[in-house]
Symmetry: C7
Subunit: 224 residues, 7 copies
């Protein structure tokens, strides 16, 4: 039997979950969807973390969708990908944060919250369901300090000082990396995130922004 | 193995849930069905919200189907797409509103009601069932004021002052956007929604209308 | 990959539940089966509602199948499509009517009964089971007055004064629409339904008839 | 995409349960199997009902299989199709008859028993299981009088005075219809059923026979 | 793709359970496997029943597999097909016989035991599991007398005085039928079964034999 | 439709569980995997049973995998095929032996233990799961004496004095059969098993060996 | 039917779980993914065990992912493959270690912990879920001494003194094998693992390292 003939044999060799070279085909599709989502930025310094998301232009009478979400007093999140999927993940984050407060009478640390979301997303890659098509950036302040994480559809997560997801995320990340400074102010970070989104999209976009600072009790708040 | 050869390999690369470019193939099909549904309009000002739906002409002895539904005293909804799917979603909205009254002894706020419907619809996109082929517009009055939302088969929802779904929704939305005025009266809004539907369909249609006003105790009522 | 090449890609684009243009492929198949069923008529005036169904000619020693069914004292129903499916739906209607009597100690209103059947049928379009291949016409008298409804395999239902389902339903419906009169007598309605079935089938058929009248206590009864 | 191009698109258009023209493909296969089963006859007059089934010739040392089954004191049944399927249906009939006796302390009426079997068979056409490949003829005496029913794999059932199922059932039914007489004796009915089976098969077969008479307490008994 | 060419359309027309002409494709495969199993014989007279099974030659150091199994004191069984399947069926028979003793404090009659196995096997033909690839011959003595049954993968069973299953069963059965005598002794039956197996296989095989006699308390015993 | 046209029709004729000639396709695949496993030997005399398994050469810093497993004090086992599958079967054997000790306060007899493993493996051939790709040889001493069994992926088991499984098992079995002697010593059996493995593999392999003797309390022990 | 014709017949012969030659196709895909993961090393002497994993270069503002994980005080682990899968396996290891402490009030031995992970991974190869795409190396100290294990997606595990997994693992393993010395110091082992990773990747990588030593209470600790 000529394996090179491809077609159905290929279907036999790479069934459902895995594609050529062991790739997770459904997760790759989910990532393709994320790469078409709103350009979204996360920036962190020792003093604060900022989330900024491009708000896709909507027709005149439609309110722009909320893209920056408060998860708990000390944590906020944003995402890029299918809105329905993002909303489900935001709900999951809020639920986990509330559960932690109920069980331990203290705010959840940002790392545990992120890990929970990663595990929640990973589950969708193991069974015959649809992996969620959304990457999420989480910003918060806990006992360790200011925290910024990115979580992807595969359940993988990263910690860092600058993330970009969604459309032309590479372009936006380049801007962040060239111009990031560890001692920038919130205003400078807002300007940087705007600049990164403008470069990525080649137009002046509407951007929604949320910030959490180490001082001021570490409360996540949206900027107007 | 030549991936360009397509066919079954493609089937391997884009299985069940996702299509090329990470699109949700079943949700796209559901949206195609919605785009063939009755042209349906939502208009909101600070004073009132109005729902208007084209009633598809039926044969002489058949009563036109109800398209505007009271959900609770302060909320109404309409939809476009498969009637069986719309009816199920209307039932879900009514049930959720009643549950809220039982649990909290107060009317549900329109945003929570909408979010519940979005989450209900999102669930159908994750498992091996049929995503519902219906978009819904919800109008109501709560403590925040007059509210208007649109929910799509993916579970995504929007807040706004003017929505159009169903056949030639783009044409109808253009009319709304050009002629919408934030201080229009209910009569003017009725006229505008009629005009938008006429433009979309190129004929004088039967239209069913429901309105909820901030004054008068915020009661959703069908006109005539 | 050339999407126009069709075949398996098409299979990828339009999986199980949906076909081209967002059509519900299994429901379309069910409707095809209904369009090959017995020609069946419903006629309603303010005074009565009548159900008439062509009894397909059977071989000499076989009794013609019952096609007009009493559901409860005040309601009757008939259907067209696969007999096994019709019988299941009739059972479901009877059960729902009995449940209502037990729970509320009053006869069910015809609209609620119809809506229940619509929701029952809709469920079969969402999961990986077979949508039922039967349309049903329901006739009854309740507090609102004389009622006539048609329910389709998708769960969609219509209220009206004249319905035709099954083989050449369009031809039969044309006859009804041209000759229907709101003040016709039961005898005239019987004659009209016979005429419509004869036109549809081009032959003199056996017809089973059931009637429910506003007076006489609103009891559904088969004629002869 | 050209729908006429067929192949896999066809597979998309007519999935699992339905074939072209809305046919139930698995039920059609079950009926094909029935049409290769033993030729089996049911005859009813006001005085008695008779079941006669061709016993397929077996090799010398093998006892012919039982084809006529007592279900309850007043009811018997026979079937044609796959023997394993027939036996399951016979068990189901016996169980239902016993349940009725336990619950109501009276023999089940033949119509209810038949309807139960129809509903039992219908269930196999809705889910992803194998529809049963057997038609059954039921004969009994109850308060209404002598009863004869045929039930098919789809769950459809018929009431009548003469039925034939299995191999060349059409030929056998022709004989029954030409020579049936409403005042024939049991002996004449035995002769008629033999003649019908001989015509259908073109050979002198072994036939097993069971009879239930209105008089004599209405006891179903096999003839030797 | 030309629909007449068959292929995928065919796959659509004859799904999973049924093949062309309504054949049970998985059961046919199971029967093919049985027809490659050990040639196995059952012989019954009024005085005794005998089971004889060819023991396939094994390599020198491997003990021949047991093919004749005691089920209960008064019943034995043998089978042909996949050994794993046969062993499961033997276990099921033993369990059923023990359950009967526990519930009724009497030995199970051979007909009920056989019917139970038939129903157990039939179940595997209805759901998406593997029909068992084994035919079984059961020999026993109960109140009715000496009993011999054959059960097939479809759940069909036969009663008789001479059965042959497995490889070249037709040849073996011919021998049995020509030389069977209702008053033969056990020794003559052993000789006859050996002769039938030799004819079927064209070689001198090892044969395992078990016998149950009406006298001697009706105890099933293996011969050496 | 021409059945000879093959392809998808073939797929229709031989679905999932069965292949041409009624073969169990998944079990055949499992056996193919076993035939690529380590060459493994079992030898039994009245005085002792020995298990010997080729240890596949591993890279310098990797310890050779254990291939001979103690199951209970009086029983040991080895296997060939996928290591993950073998380990699961070894666990199952140990669990069953411990359960027996707990329930009956006595060591399990080797035949019952083997039968349990056969039934455990058979289950994987009936449902839509993966049949285990491992053959197992079990050696033990119980009240009957020294015992040696082989169990295959289908759940079939054999009793004997010499078994070989895995790569070139036929060659190894030939050596065993030619040179086996019922009164050989343990040392002679070790030499014979080594010789058989050398012949099968054409090289001097590492071999792990375990022995259980009738005397010395019948304790299974690995050599060295 | 020509089996050589391939295509769909092949699909019939090698369904879902198994490919040609009995290979586990999904596990092979998982292994392909592992072979593209970070190059990861394990080294053991009698005095200590060391884990070293290449940290894939990330963009400037992203913290390198943790690759060396403490499982319990006396055990650490690392992995190569999909990060989401690795994280799930690390969680499973931690959970199992904690369960052991709770149940037995003592640290788990490294062999039992490894065996548990192997069994956990094996389960994913038996049912219709996705086998995990990660190999794991476990290092620890228990009563037996210093321990080093590798576990693969199939559930197979190995014990040894030097392992390499991930990209160009063969090259890295060659370096280990040539230069390993049983009396090397921790510093020498760090240098050796670095050298092996450099050779494998042809560049100077970032490497994360963890060590557990027999002395010092056997505490697993990350270096620096």
């Amino acid at each position: 039997m000529a394996e090179a003939a491809g077609g159905p044999i290929g279907a036999g060799r790479y069934p459902y979950f895995y594609g050529p070279e062991g790739r997770l085909v459904l997760v790759d599709s989910a990532l393709e969807a994320v790469s078409r989502g709103s350009t979204t930025i996360g920036i962190k310094t020792a003093a604060f973390a900022l989330l900024a998301s491009h708000i896709k232009p909507v027709r005149p009478l439609i309110d722009p969708a909320e893209k920056i979400f408060a998860i708990d007093g000390h944590v906020g999140a944003t995402g890029s990908g299918y809105i329905g999927d993002i909303l489900q993940l935001i709900d999951e984050l809020r639920l986990e944060a509330q559960k932690h407060r109920l069980n331990f009478e203290s705010p959840i640390d940002v790392g545990s919250l992120t890990k929970h979301l990663g595990s929640f997303l990973h589950n969708y890659t193991v069974y015959a369901v649809r992996p969620q098509a959304a990457s999420v950036i989480i910003a918060g302040v806990d006992e360790i300090g200011v925290q910024l994480y990115q979580v992807d559809p595969s359940g993988t997560f990263f910690r860092g000082s600058g993330f970009a997801i969604g459309q032309s995320a590479d372009v936006a990340l380049d801007v962040l990396q060239r111009e990031y400074s560890a001692d920038m102010s919130v205003d400078q970070a807002v300007a940087l995130s705007n600049k990164a989104i403008v470069r990525a999209l080649g137009e002046r976009p509407i951007v929604e922004i949320g910030v959490v600072s180490a001082k001021d009790g570490g409360r996540f708040q949206k900027l107007h």
